[in-house]
């Protein structure tokens, strides 16, 4: 099972001859969750609370992620709050809440079933019909619409962390998955990441850097992160980050950089389709194409959209995206002691 801000996946990998067992279990999950939800609620509540402690409360970087997401996406947006909820959310959840969510949303109309492997399609039709067709369709509530407005003006978050290194993160909102500008966001991130890596020796104040873009159903996030060398302040590290953005303006992405980023993305995608884990990547890719594009058969289009990005488009996109007034700045200042806990965002 994996969860993102948009969805939960229930995934089973097994010998192809045993696929019927997985369909039966999946059907039970989708159609008859009530006994599970009632019986396991408090056990699961404790488990998720512990998971949250391990993944968020005990990991300052992930705490800061929550702060950045909350700043980028205003209250009312589904990404404003962390996927695992707050500790108070979890503690207050009742079995009836789990049942209400399943009743309202964990329903056939909202679900996509993908079966991929050495399976006979005629036999699969019959099995899918047997296990899933009897599940009733229910009247779903109206789906909330995520607000599109982004906060205006630069937002600066400050955090104090026990340790000896300062860090800076810039974050901008980018287009949703597969939307116009999504391909440009990913390619620009790859180009900027490579520039930072290639010229690391010219930035001796930085020990680690990363540029990435994550795209979801209701928007994406473009992130530039730098960790400073011991002794550097967050102002020192921010100056390096600002210089990197400025360099992108004075020396925009070239055709060579764009071509490299496109090919890197394609080969990276190929690698992720390799082996048993690659089968899961395949299945989730088909699911995404079906969900976002209405057609699972869009892999070729997906690759082609990256090839269609021109130097002019990515330069224009970079100039429009990376503006100070659209960003969240996170400054992490090293500190020796107790003030860290009180000041984390």
């Amino acid at each position: 099972m994996t969860t993102t801000p948009d969805r939960t996946d229930y995934i089973q990998v097994l010998p192809a001859a045993n696929v019927e067992a997985a369909l039966w279990l999946t059907s039970s999950n989708l159609g008859y969750p009530d006994p599970l939800l009632h019986g396991a609620h408090y056990w699961q509540q404790t488990l998720v609370a512990e998971e949250r402690t391990e993944q968020v409360d005990d990991v300052p970087a992930n705490q800061r992620n929550s702060g950045v997401m909350a700043a980028l996406f205003p209250d009312g947006h589904p990404y404003h709050r962390p996927v695992l909820g707050t500790a108070d959310d979890l503690a207050a959840t009742l079995p009836t809440d789990s049942v209400a969510f399943a009743t309202n949303w964990h329903q056939p109309q909202e679900a996509i079933l993908v079966v991929l492997g050495d399976v006979d399609k005629v036999a699969m039709h019959a099995l899918v019909e047997r296990y899933f067709a009897p599940l009733p369709a229910v009247l779903l509530p109206k789906r909330p619409v995520a607000p599109k407005e982004a906060p205006s003006g630069e937002q600066v978050l400050r955090s104090f962390d026990v340790g000896s290194t300062a860090a800076v993160r810039f974050a901008w909102r980018t287009p949703a998955c597969f939307a116009d500008g999504d391909a440009e966001s990913h390619l620009l991130a790859a180009i900027l990441d490579a520039r930072l890596e290639r010229h690391a020796e010219q930035r001796p104040g930085v020990v680690w850097s990363s540029v990435s873009n994550s795209a979801f159903e209701n928007g994406g996030v473009f992130t530039l992160s730098l960790v400073g060398r011991e002794g550097a302040s967050s102002a020192d590290v921010q100056a390096i980050a600002e210089a990197q953005i400025e360099e992108l303006r004075t020396r925009p992405p070239t055709s060579e950089e764009l071509e490299w980023a496109e090919r890197r993305r394609e080969t990276g995608r190929l690698q992720r389709f390799d082996g048993a884990a690659g089968l899961v990547t395949w299945a989730t890719a088909l699911r995404d194409y079906r969900f976002f594009l209405g057609n699972a058969d869009r892999a070729a289009w997906d690759l082609a959209r990256y090839r269609a990005v021109t130097v002019f488009r990515i330069q224009t996109f970079a100039a429009a995206l990376l503006r100070p007034e659209r960003r969240v700045v996170l400054l992490v200042e090293p500190t020796a002691g107790h003030e860290a806990q009180a000041s984390a965002p």
Binding site: D6, Q12, L30, E110
Partner: protein, 80 residues
């Protein structure tokens, strides 16, 4: 090319498609892309609205994946 054929009430079958994945494993060294691998795909909806995607690949394994919405968009923030 994808063809959408009406099969029977409540169901659409996208049939006979071959996922021609335009993959470029040699792209760093050559301009001609390789077309690997291929996946036969069928996709349709059951009468209850469940979307089904069936894909055949030559492997001894199978993946069964169910996508369901995340709770975030419906969460009311009880703890606040």
């Amino acid at each position: 090319m994808v063809s959408v054929l009406p099969l029977h009430a409540g169901r659409l079958l996208t049939g006979g498609t071959v996922l021609g994945f335009a993959l470029y494993p040699l792209a760093l060294f050559a301009s001609a892309p390789a077309a690997l691998p291929q996946v036969d795909i069928e996709q349709y909806q059951l009468g209850n609205g469940l979307t089904v995607v069936l894909a055949h690949v030559d492997t001894p394994l199978a993946v069964v994946a169910l996508r369901s919405p995340q709770a975030a968009f419906a969460r009311r923030g009880r703890g606040r």
